[in-house]
């Protein structure tokens, strides 16, 4: 297998954007191309992750993006894996470069949904569940994670205030990220007093619906060395699955696909969770970050709460989690999120993370899943 690298990364601001889905996808793609110091003609394939292109009247995004980049002849594909679309797309790009099919490819993730309103998004997101049993019985996505939260709080004697601490921490990080959607300091009291969306989760336990696009250039190491010294290596890549419906899982306080993906990625990288300097994890809801950091092996089952209470996951903690602000504060444009995590790790490991830089970081991990973790991808990156 070829050694695989990321040599360029770009992102729009996440939030409520005015430009069209194709416009923002192009903006992020051009940023990534320029950051890599390459020409579009050097790109041999495009991997486009998106879920609700239909909401902004553009599906089959790949050829549009390739055409606008001046390379209409270059093959592309669109990948949908719910909120995990970005990392799944990254994985396919990684695998094709590793296999030697291509020297350099573009992976762009994009979403444009905020103009549709809360009812539309709540309804359409519910189609990402196992609809017959979940969305089709009134379960919203906050509701599904709320069900995990209730099980977690009961099993590990944690409190809603513990969940709130995750939101407060991620907002603190997001304040330092110019591209974050919700740049606002919040308190535990703010979270507790926010409106209940799906008990026990309140509005401030939930990530926002966001627009946004992120893009990276993925290539083999020979190509990387030819163009730049400013790159990171992909040293681990893992994927996993879980029963699509929550009812199919023996334990509701763990996500099987995360464990499977993480174990594969750690094994490929030849490292253990202790070697990871920071991680961008899928905190679509506060409960998810607790579950993720346990399933990724940073903390034992049921101990993430204690770690958050002690500040271990803060920017200056033992294992900073979501230095970007995470989905909670940076935002969650679902097709872009998994790529956006890679952009953050690239920026961190190449000295471009500004005020939110994780000190002395060499190894960063991304963790992104679809729906309630029915599909998952974990990637591990190392600075050169």
């Amino acid at each position: 297998m070829e050694k695989v690298c990321v040599i360029g990364a770009g992102s729009t601001k996440y939030g409520k954007l005015q430009d069209s889905i194709t416009d923002i996808a192009i903006q992020a793609s051009v940023d990534a191309i320029e950051s890599a110091g390459i020409e579009p003609k050097e790109i041999q394939a495009g991997y486009i992750s998106n879920v609700f292109g239909v909401a902004d009247k553009q599906v089959h995004l790949g050829p549009v993006i390739m055409s606008d980049l001046g390379i209409p002849e270059v093959p592309s594909l669109s990948i949908e894996s719910a909120c995990g679309s970005g990392s799944v797309s990254f994985r396919e790009a990684y695998a094709n470069v590793a296999a030697g099919f291509y020297d350099a490819v573009l992976a762009t993730g994009v979403e444009k949904v905020t103009h549709t309103g809360t009812e539309w998004t709540t309804t359409y997101f519910s189609y990402c569940s196992d609809f017959f049993y979940e969305g089709g019985a009134g379960a919203s996505f906050p509701g599904l994670f709320a069900s995990m939260a209730r099980a977690y709080l009961a099993e590990f004697k944690a409190t809603e205030e513990d969940l709130a601490m995750v939101a407060v921490k991620n907002h603190d990080n997001g304040l330092l990220n110019p591209k974050a959607h919700l740049r606002k300091k919040i308190t535990i009291d703010d979270v507790m007093k926010s409106a209940v969306v799906a008990s026990p989760l309140k509005l401030y336990d939930c990530c926002p619906f966001s627009d946004g696009a992120s893009a990276v250039i993925i290539c083999n190491e020979k190509f990387a060395k030819k163009h730049t010294k400013n790159y990171v290596r992909v040293i681990g890549s893992g994927r996993g699955g879980s029963p699509a419906a929550l009812q199919g899982r023996e334990h509701l306080t763990t996500i099987p696909s995360t464990k499977i993906a993480a174990q594969a990625a750690y094994k490929m990288a030849g490292i253990t969770p202790k070697d990871v300097d920071f991680a961008e994890v899928h905190d679509c809801f506060t409960i998810a970050e607790l579950v993720d950091t346990e399933d990724l092996g940073f903390f034992e089952k049921g101990r993430a709460v204690e770690a958050v209470r002690q500040g271990m996951t803060k920017l200056n903690g033992a294992i900073p989690i979501n230095p970007s602000g995470g989905l909670k504060s940076k935002g969650h444009p679902i097709g872009a999120t998994g790529i956006g995590q890679v952009v953050e790790v690239f920026d961190q490991l190449t000295g471009n993370a500004g005020e939110r830089t994780v000190k002395d970081a060499k190894i960063g991990l991304t963790h992104n899943f679809g729906a309630t973790g029915a599909s998952c991808a974990v990637h591990i990156f190392k600075s050169v």
């Binding site: 809360t118 009812e119 539309w120 709540t122 309804t123 519910s126 017959f132 049993y133 979940e134 969305g135 089709g136 019985a137 009134g138 379960a139 919203s140 906050p142 509701g143 599904l144 709320a146 069900s147 995990m148 209730r150 099980a151 009961a154 409106a195 209940v196 969306v197 799906a198 008990s199 026990p200 989760l201 029963p243 419906a245 929550l246 009812q247 199919g248 509701l252």
Partner: protein, 134 residues
Amino acid sequence: MQAAQFTYSKVYNLLTKEEFINSAKSGKVLARKCTKCGHLHLVTTYFCQNCGNKGFENVFLEGKGSVVTYTIITVPPAGYEKSVPYAWVVLKLDGVDLRISGFMANIQSPSDLPLGTRVKIAGYDERGILIEKL
């Protein structure tokens, strides 16, 4: 029992989702039991998740059990506006290793539904599988 309407069911000689819905209306859960290892699945599974076998026998389970978790929805998807607040509930069926989830009306606050509350499958309509307290 009516003959199966769908091609996939003819192939595997199994009862269908439609019959699952009919059984829910009479308070039963139509499950598929692996003929090789005995693992139980709901009606939407065609190969055993435990051993990979494709042989199943139809089993009608009593639709009674205990709440393992739930949420109370206040911001609903389209179609549920008039039901708010309501619960979406996961219950474990009595005596078997099988869980099922569904819609439960008239739940206002967590004090209305402590974990472990005894519940039953009470029907199926446009709101999905319906669950009620026993």
